[in-house]
């Protein structure tokens, strides 16, 4: 008896997760999709390399841009290759939570670095 009560979204185009063994799979289109993802990953890698060589920007700005592209790259891997996009929302929200959490904590620590006591003899 197939479990049709799962709450997963039925994504007819990109089949992932446990639905694969229930629906007939168009192997060729799956392969093609993987090819697109690979090309996208390689392109974003090339983009990052190109940004790093731009002559007229300072390193903090370049670092910010490069990290943005890296995030897009990471989303591609996580979303398609780890089929997070077709996976249960719980994992999605858990990971999103961890990411937000981690970013907040990093920001907090960096904020702490530059918050010095004022009014002292040397500062």
């Amino acid at each position: 008896m197939s479990e049709s009560k799962t709450a997963q979204p039925h994504n007819a185009q990109f089949v992932g997760g446990s639905e694969l063994h229930e629906h007939p799979v168009d192997y060729k289109s799956y392969l093609r999709r993987c090819g697109y993802v690979l090309i996208a990953v390689l392109c974003s890698t090339a983009l990052m390399i190109w940004i790093s060589f731009l002559p007229h920007y300072d390193w903090p700005a370049k670092a910010g841009l490069i990290l943005c592209v890296a995030c897009v790259n990471a989303f591609l891997v996580a979303g398609f290759l780890m089929h997070l996009l077709s996976e249960k929302k719980m994992i999605y929200t858990l990971l999103g939570f961890v990411a937000v959490f981690f970013a907040g904590l990093m920001g907090l620590t960096i904020y702490a670095m530059h918050d010095m006591p004022v009014g002292t003899v040397y500062h």
Binding site: E3, V98, L108, A112, D115, P117
Partner: protein
């Protein structure tokens, strides 16, 4: 998540582990059955036994330290010559404890009690034994991972113990292992400590994954989230704390290991001087970085220490008051709030690092905020006693004592959370008194209560009630004798980790100087020493009781001798492999005690519902 009740397929349609039927389960033999077992109950008992041994060892360490504090430089009676023989004349010359040995005892006492004693006992031992039973599962989700986590724990413990015997001695930089001290101490004990910690962290991570997956996936039909016993909720949040907080410490430990062995400078600042000479390192590192990463774990770690204990206390109070726990929902939301907030308070351990006022205020605010859910939990437990038919058995006595003791511990944390007050109190004995009140007469009392409470389920026999009460009263009195004076000592300014017990700063040594430690404070050391010895003696009835009752204790004559509602008592005693013959069906919440109209004063969670046979009452005519 609410769909659990209705959308479950029948169990026999769900295929389990294929290969062979379990109808004729062969006897696994001694090694597979008791040493390399994957059964959660066996693993729970293994964890429990090992952890209790480590707790005892950690206690011996502190007894030796308290002797040194009360009588600095005086050879330890009876044990002194043995110490010198084992540890060598540099560490224990003439049987007296040298300052280096004192420091290593201090560092290892903290490490062993926390990571080898309380966490394995509270989280792994009780959790492993009880949680699958409480949720109606046949075992943990990953039994072999469970076995691996115990083995990693034992290995970590062995590495820690071995470090006492290497040249240079065990770790000496405190359980907090601050850099640059931890890197510049000339002993490999620090490296051993780090490797031991990595093994222990691995063990905890594997355990945490197991617990969370089990609680999410293996709840029996009808066991919704809000029908879980509070102990399970506490273990669930604890597992998340371990899962997310331990890895940064693992990363930091790796970096400190690189500093120690590969001469990197992650935590070593530029211009570091060691022994009067510039250290030959690249510099550029940040000691503060270690502190941030350490306390990022360090703070959730203390909630790991207390939450399972609160869970145990809740179960025992519900059972011995014969009424439902007051405020179940508040308890659940509070424990979730504690879990979340515990990640954003860590820098209250770092108020004295020169942080600015903005960031100090942030952490002060979150620290005070986290006291709110803690107080809510304590209040719910306290209010649950109101109007109850309290049964004063040994587990209940320990739980009743837990409430005021944890109250003292928690309330004394407030001045420490306030940045201005902490400037004075940081690193004094006040801090030691605060956290020991929470962990020693707090968590450890709850763990004792759990042992007395669940002993009949594990063995089918009760522990001796008289000696249980002796154990309780003696422990209760002497815990307070040991730790209460430390508040006074801390307020007077006595600092932590002083091998001479503060003699260097005492009025006796420097008469007439300002703000020295007065004689009254120094005399407390003797009281504390004898209190600690008496506390140790008070554990002897417990140890004898535990082993004697295994074979000679009064038989429980029932699978559910405490008349409890939770699922672990609805199994045979001791529960067989697979726990339940058929999956239990859950019909109600965990604390259905004294339900009006019911013939017994408790209704187990899996007791079938009585079908309603009374005819429907016709509707009343409308009243005007």
């Amino acid at each position: 998540m609410d769909e659990t009740v209705h959308s479950f397929p029948a169990y026999d349609e769900v295929p389990g582990d294929h290969g062979h039927g379990h109808a004729a389960h062969h006897d696994p033999g001694f090694w597979r059955g008791y040493v390399f077992s994957t059964d959660h109950k066996v693993i729970g008992i293994q964890y429990g036994f090992t952890a209790l041994c480590f707790l005892l060892f950690g206690f011996f360490l502190i007894l030796l330290m308290r002797w040194q504090i009360a009588h600095p430089g005086v050879p330890v009676p009876f044990i002194g010559p043995l110490l010198e023989k084992i540890l060598g004349p540099t560490m224990a010359g003439h049987g007296a404890i040298s300052p280096d040995l004192y420091n290593s005892f201090g560092a290892m006492h903290g490490t062993i009690m926390i990571f080898l004693g309380v966490v394995p006992l509270a989280f792994a031992a009780f959790g492993n034994y009880v949680v699958p039973l409480m949720i109606g599962a046949p075992d943990m989700a990953f039994p072999r991972v469970n076995m691996a986590s115990y083995q990693a724990y034992v290995l970590g413990g062995i590495v820690m113990l071995v470090s006492f015997f290497i040249p240079g001695g065990a770790a000496q930089a405190g359980w907090t292992s601050y850099s640059p001290l931890a890197t510049t101490i000339p002993t490999h004990g620090q490296a051993f400590w780090i490797i031991g910690m990595v093994l222990l962290i691995t063990s905890s991570l594997l355990g945490a994954v197991n617990f969370i997956a089990t609680i999410i996936q293996l709840r029996a039909p009808g066991m919704t989230w809000m029908r879980l016993p509070f102990f399970v909720w506490a273990q669930f949040v604890t597992a998340f704390l371990l899962l997310l907080a331990f890895p940064p410490l693992e990363a930091a430990a790796l970096m400190q290991l690189m500093d120690n062995l590969a001469h990197t400078s992650f935590f070593l600042p530029t211009g570091l001087a060691v022994g009067g000479h510039l250290a030959h390192v690249s510099g550029g590192g940040s000691p503060l970085l270690w502190q941030h990463l350490f306390w990022f774990l360090g703070h959730p770690e203390v909630y790991v220490l207390i939450l399972p204990a609160m869970g145990i206390v809740c179960e025992i109070i519900a059972n011995n008051t014969r009424k439902p726990i007051w405020g179940y929902k508040s308890l659940v939301y509070s424990v979730l709030a504690i879990g979340f907030l515990s990640f954003i308070v860590w820098a209250h351990h770092m108020y004295l690092t020169g942080m600015g006022t903005k960031i100090a205020t942030f952490f002060q605010a979150t620290t005070l905020a986290i006291s709110i859910p803690s107080v809510i939990i304590l209040t719910c437990l306290l209010i649950s006693l109101w109007g109850a038919s309290i049964r004063f058995n040994t587990p209940m006595l320990f739980c009743l004592a837990f409430l005021p003791m944890f109250g003292i511990g928690g309330l004394t944390g407030l001045p420490l959370g306030l940045a201005p007050a902490d400037i004075y109190l940081h690193d004094t004995y006040y801090v030691i008194a605060h956290f020991h009140y929470v962990v020693a007469p707090g968590t450890i009392f709850a763990l004792f209560a759990g042992i007395y409470y669940w002993f009949p389920k594990m063995t089918g026999r009760r522990m001796n009630e008289f000696w249980g009460r002796v154990h309780f009263w003696a422990s209760f009195v002497f815990m307070n004798v040991v730790f209460m004076p430390m508040f006074a000592q801390g307020m007077e300014g006595m600092l932590r980790r002083m091998a001479d017990g503060g003699a260097n700063y005492s009025a006796a040594r420097v008469p007439g100087a300002l703000d020295t430690l007065p004689n009254t404070i120094m005399e407390m050391h003797t009281w504390i020493l004898w209190g600690a010895v008496a506390l140790g003696l008070a554990q002897i009835p417990f140890i004898i009781n535990l082993f004697w009752s295994l074979n000679h204790g009064e038989e429980a004559h029932s699978d559910n001798p405490w008349n409890s509602t939770t699922l672990e008592w609805q199994t045979p005693t001791p529960p067989p492999h697979g726990n339940f013959a058929t999956p239990p069906q859950i019909h109600r919440g965990p604390y259905e005690y004294s339900v009006p109209g019911h013939d017994t004063d408790f209704t187990p969670q899996n007791e079938p519902e009585i079908p309603v046979t009374a005819p429907k009452i016709s509707p009343m005519p409308a009243m005007h």
